[in-house]
């Protein structure tokens, strides 16, 4: 029991830090650069990604292992995964809209955009490619989402700090964001060298 939890936690930890899906696999770059000007926006977006990734990755595991694999339909995995993700985001948005207006304004509006977030599809593809068990997949989905949110918040924090600084002509906006992303990626590359998941 303790051993199982510690291996679950090790995978969760590596998904957040050493194997950060955004900074070591470069997935989910568009919203990372596009929606990281303000901490408040990026918090909502990040939370939405955590929500969707935590649920869709295990759901896709079930879909793959209990339907696609037994029926010999693995080649449809791409379509099946993205459809499940799209359906999940749409349903969640509907539910949130009914439940609370303020929650919808803070989090719900990001859900439709997330359907085409590479990180979320990537997490589902990885969990198949790396042959995770269902339990491992839950750790990976939750950790991957939190890691993505962490990187986004860090980026937004840095960009808010330098928002009023004078930058060389042409480097404002995307240019400086890319350079920051490069430096952050370098820092996380060092993480990868320090620890590799079992």
């Amino acid at each position: 029991m303790i051993a199982a939890f510690s291996s679950w936690f090790a995978l969760f930890f590596s998904a957040v830090f050493t194997q950060n899906i955004l900074l070591t696999n470069y997935l989910g770059m568009c919203p990372f650069l596009g929606a990281s000007r303000e901490l408040k926006t990026s918090f909502g977006l990040g939370a939405a990604v955590v929500l969707v990734m935590t649920f869709t990755t295990p759901l896709n595991w079930l879909l793959y292992h209990s339907i696609l694999l037994p029926l010999g339909l693995e080649y449809l995995a791409l379509i099946a995964f993205i459809s499940l993700i799209a359906a999940f985001t749409q349903l969640t948005e509907l539910v949130i809209m009914r439940v609370s207006d303020s929650l919808h304004a803070a989090l719900g509006i990001f859900l439709p955009l997330i359907t085409v977030n590479c990180a979320i599809l990537g997490a589902s593809l990885f969990m198949v490619a790396r042959r995770y068990s269902f339990l491992q997949t839950t750790a990976y989905g939750l950790g991957g989402g939190l890691g993505w949110m962490l990187a986004l918040l860090a980026m937004a924090g840095i960009r808010q700090r330098i928002a009023k600084n004078r930058l060389p002509r042409g480097l404002e906006g995307a240019g400086i964001a890319l350079i920051i992303a490069g430096i952050m990626a370098m820092a996380f590359t060092a993480f990868t060298g320090m620890a590799t998941p079992a």
């Binding site: 080649y75 449809l76 379509i79 459809s83 990885f126 490619a129 790396r130 042959r131 590359t189 990868t192 060298g193 590799t196």
Partner: protein, 218 residues
């Protein structure tokens, strides 16, 4: 009132129906393409397997598919399937040695790295390694494909460990040079070789060498 409920119902059903039709249309298109291309894909999968087994055993593999199949048929002997047992025994190009080939898997960055690992039954050392399939990043992890990287394993005696950075020690028979910037891929290769080696030791007894005198004479 049927007149008011039926358009309402139709309004609710129309999107669902549309989506179902669209899904059916595209799924049948993709399935047709998949089925039509399956024999070709199976063929090329078999070719990659045969090529990797021959390359690991030290052959330079002919580019043409039929020549490859001929070479494989004449030089390789498939072994009965056993858990942890070797996949095939392949004669080396000089005809002096039997290479025992194992199929082994390592955990790469994007997915499994599948390899054929060959050992020399004459010398009991690594004879070569070749990849059946991998998904490593082009230009980084995928550099495990480069001949310079793969050549380093000939004559090595596993278990291997990674050579310390910046100190290339070509003479050391128990270390492996990693690829800069591809820690996970290098680690995966190291581990799969060591696993194959631990399977090789016990199987030495099962594979009767073709010319026992040669081993005795050593």
């Amino acid at each position: 009132m049927p007149s008011s409920t039926s358009p309402n119902l139709r309004q609710r059903l129309a999107p669902v129906l549309f989506l179902a039709l669209l899904t059916a249309a595209f799924l049948s298109l993709v399935t047709a393409a998949h089925l039509a291309s399956r024999p070709i894909v199976e063929q090329s999968r078999l070719r990659y397997l045969q090529r990797a087994v021959l390359e690991a055993a030290g052959w330079s593999v002919p580019p043409r598919a039929d020549e490859l199949a001929d070479l494989f048929a004449s030089r390789a002997r498939l072994l009965p399937e056993e858990p942890d047992g070797p996949f095939a025994v392949v004669q080396d190009p000089q005809g002096r040695d039997d290479r025992v080939v194992f199929l082994e898997e390592g955990r790469g960055l994007w997915g499994p790295i599948r390899a054929a690992v060959a050992f020399s039954s004459l010398e009991g050392s690594l004879a070569g390694i070749a990849w059946i399939a991998h998904n490593e990043t082009p230009g980084l992890g995928a550099r495990i494909e480069e001949p310079e990287f793969r050549r380093q394993f000939r004559g090595k005696r596993p278990p291997l460990k990674l050579a310390p950075l910046g100190r290339p020690d070509a003479g050391d028979r128990s270390t492996m040079q990693a690829i800069t910037g591809a820690t996970i891929s290098s680690q995966a290769v190291l581990e799969l070789i060591n696993r194959a080696a631990s399977r090789f030791k016990p199987s030495l007894e099962h594979v009767a060498p073709t010319e026992p005198d040669m081993i005795l004479s050593l």
